[in-house]
């Protein structure tokens, strides 16, 4: 047997180019030659951040209700018309945007966009249908909340942002808030927020696509643009750590969600923070995964990232660990966050983080769906067409000193909230004795 002992070096790199961005009359498009499928997304400034307090989940209910028939046809006829094109409507509500999209073979894109617009602009919103969709959505959330994770996530959000703030509540609401959504709330949300023209994102082989006609279909009958939601919210740094316990009797794992408030997406440190979080817990060989999974064997995986939207952000560390090692895993995790804040990153770790993040731009941005998502980032955060090219350069140029500085500035190990969703009867005493922070029960 003979193996080649010497590890090969890289060949000559071919430059990565983000496709040319075409902006025309509210349409933002990218040409991807040879792709069989194309994607179109109507992007609206109508994300969950627009929902009134106590009514979390309106946007998610509306997203489902859009397919319950239109002014022109009932729900069964609508489904058949769209699906016979090979398309399904997909909707997505995040903090900053409400997205309604279709993916279809490129020759069927015009027909699919016409149906997309029909659902977005002229949904039937029959009160009985909306009430049923609302009830179904509440039931679906109850299913989802029976899994480990959603309750821990809600407890973390409430603790770091405050239950009285919209972003201190779950993105899509909880089973109770959704159950409390009224039919009028949904109709009103549509009237207020889905009448704006928005932006039509198109990604695919545009050789025979008439972007003007797609735009005309998407914007027909639309009203005025809406005013912006406002600037970034202030961050109040914490100095005390606390442990929030979410009881899950009989659980064989403890689900961990750790975090604290952090800057918004457009913060000038965005690239540096991304790299610091990658070294901490963003890649397989990052500090957290190496220690907690590869050395200790406590978990199937652990990751850390900054989650950022237009007005706020946070550090989030997520994992699931075997119940018996809950406290040692937390101690190790807090230890790695502290070490990264205090000692910064090393050049070998940063080298991996840098090339991985830069390389991922070319590896990930292959499909019409991924490119449409990148176009959405440009629009939501008001970024220039050469953003992705510059992002790559900025990632590759970041040095050890500046990334370490960002780690020190934006990681706050002393102000962490540690949410543990697990068998409280088994782990409570050890958590209290650990001295990690005051232990409180989640108020959900």
């Amino acid at each position: 047997m003979s193996l080649v002992t010497e590890r090969p070096g890289p060949g000559a790199a071919r430059p990565y180019r983000f496709p040319e961005v075409v902006r025309r009359d509210g349409v933002v498009a990218a040409h991807l030659p040879g792709q069989a499928l194309a994607v179109a997304i109507l992007l609206l400034d109508a994300g969950a951040g627009r929902e009134p307090a106590g009514r979390e989940g309106i946007a998610a209910v509306l997203a489902k209700a859009l397919e319950e028939g239109t002014a022109k046809r009932d729900s069964a006829a609508y489904a058949l018309a769209l699906e016979s094109l090979g398309a399904e409507l997909f909707t997505n509500v995040d903090w900053d945007s409400f997205r309604i999209g279709v993916q279809a073979p490129v020759d069927r894109l015009p027909a699919a966009v016409a149906l997309l617009a029909e659902a977005a602009r002229t949904p039937r919103l029959d009160p009985a249908d909306v009430a049923r969709v609302r009830d179904d959505e509440a039931a679906a959330l109850r299913m989802d909340w029976a899994d480990p994770g959603p309750r821990a996530e809600a407890a973390l959000r409430a603790d770091i942002f405050g239950r009285d703030r919209r972003h201190g509540r779950p993105l899509h609401g909880d089973p109770d808030s959704v159950a409390g959504v009224g039919v009028d709330d949904v109709v009103e949300y549509h009237r207020t927020w889905l009448g704006q023209p928005g932006t039509l994102l198109v990604a695919g082989d545009l050789t025979s696509v008439d972007l003007g006609a797609l735009g005309a279909a998407a914007f027909a009958g639309a009203g005025e643009p809406v005013a912006g939601a406002g600037g970034p919210l202030p961050i109040e740094p914490r100095t005390d750590r606390r442990v929030v316990l979410v009881d899950r009797p009989g659980s064989v794992q403890s689900t961990l969600r750790l975090g604290h408030a952090a800057p918004h997406r457009a913060h000038p440190d965005y690239v540096l923070m991304t790299l610091a979080a990658t070294v901490l817990g963003g890649a397989f060989t990052s500090r957290l995964n190496h220690l907690i999974r590869e050395v200790r064997g406590y978990t199937y995986g652990i990751r850390a990232e900054f989650g950022q939207s237009k007005r706020f952000g946070r550090l989030l560390v997520s994992s699931g660990v075997q119940t018996a090692v809950t406290v040692p895993a937390l101690v190790d995790t807090v230890g790695e966050v502290s070490r990264t804040a205090v000692e910064g990153v090393t050049e070998p770790e940063l080298a991996v983080a840098r090339s991985w993040r830069a390389g991922q731009l070319s590896v990930d941005l292959q499909t019409p769906g991924a490119i449409a998502g990148a176009l959405a980032t440009l629009v939501v955060h008001n970024l220039p067409d050469d953003y992705h090219a510059n992002l790559r350069a900025a990632l590759l140029a970041a040095d050890e000193a500046t990334v370490s500085e960002a780690a020190a500035k934006h990681l706050n190990p002393h102000g962490l909230t540690l949410v543990v969703e697990g068998d409280a009867a088994v782990i409570r005493d050890e958590l209290v004795a650990s001295g990690l922070g005051e232990v409180v029960d989640a108020q959900l």
Binding site: V4, P10, G11, G86, A140, M143, Y300, S355
Partner: protein, 429 residues
Amino acid sequence: MSPTGYPWPIETARLDNGLRVVVSEDRTAPVVAVNIWYDVGSRHEPDGQTGFAHLFEHLMFEGSEHVAKTEHMRLVQGAGGSLNATTNPDRTNYFETVPAEHLELALWLEADRMGGLVPALTQQTLDNQREVVKNERRQRYDNVPYGDAWLRLLPLLYPPGHPYHHATIGSMADLNAADLPTFAAFHTTYYAPNNAVLSVVGDVVPADVFALAEKYFGGLPSRPDIPPAPDGTRPAPPTGPVREDVVGDVPAPRIYLAHRTHAFGSPGYDAVTVLATILGTGRGSRLYQRLADGARLAQPDYVSAYGVDLAHAPAPLIVTATARDGVAAADLEAGLAEVVDGLAGGVGQEELDRAKALLATAWWRQVSTVAGRADVLSRYATQFGDPARAGERLPAWQAVTLDAVAEVAAELHPSRRVTLSYLTEEKPA
């Protein structure tokens, strides 16, 4: 519609040691996908060794003769790449997508663990990854409501001794009993060049890839005595209907109806794929229209029907629904059975056309990335002897007739049905 589902070029070669190499050039983006299928999966595991193929997959990332523990991940991610591996009953696959200039690194890493894993295996690594896999089992199967459905369905569908009888994740007891020599033997037996297919897709020149494959893999010996795979035709499946009722901590009653159908790749399975789409994909599907919308027995987000694409025995078709608030499990089960039984009465041309349109989109989505294409090529080379047969699947779906759908629908007879029902603790049946 394209006459082929694979309109890109395909070139193949076979090294002297039996390694099959498949290259599909596409210069659109400066990236390349590398994908290896080893023709070994959990179906090869003998009694008492369930979960070994999958645990072994973990060990493949823990170092080999010239690669230190965890260095594999660091080198690929440090080159800007994505990587992973999966194990299923049929096979084990390993894959990475990297910027094209790092192709050689990826091939070197794959060759080193194909040819040089055994010297790097240690008790410490085995113990560590055994714990990781046990945590994977807790996270995916044991700690989530209904998480064990697949673990329960397989033994109901396939009798003891059948290669698909047990689930790939394995049992905790078998994992605890795993010893180092067994894994060394597993590698020596199955991780041979003549038991593997290497597919490379993207920004490459085929001749260069063949030369690199020879350089890195050419020195590995073939293994002349790979044991034959276990026979998927025996033992014979149980006759008559089978059912299991589980009372547990679940948020709502849920029913699974399952049938053994045809092996993936056969015309019968193509018809099953179309049938499953008619039944369960989209708001225009029968399950959605009749159970979620019509009779309102089922929660709309939780109705589905799908085939599990296994190639070495009749593959399962799984149909499932979860009860709406206040709906009894028995009513949901009766409603679900009625929809499945109703298929034997025939489906309409409109339903057939809708399913075919959705399947076409699903196919093109799967092959829209170089990684997706590399996986498809490895599959068809491994399971059907020719990667170019990947192009046949989409046309085969498009050619499915109303008669063919009726024929497989008739086979979903209640007398051959497996029923798994989850009942809530508050309201046992």
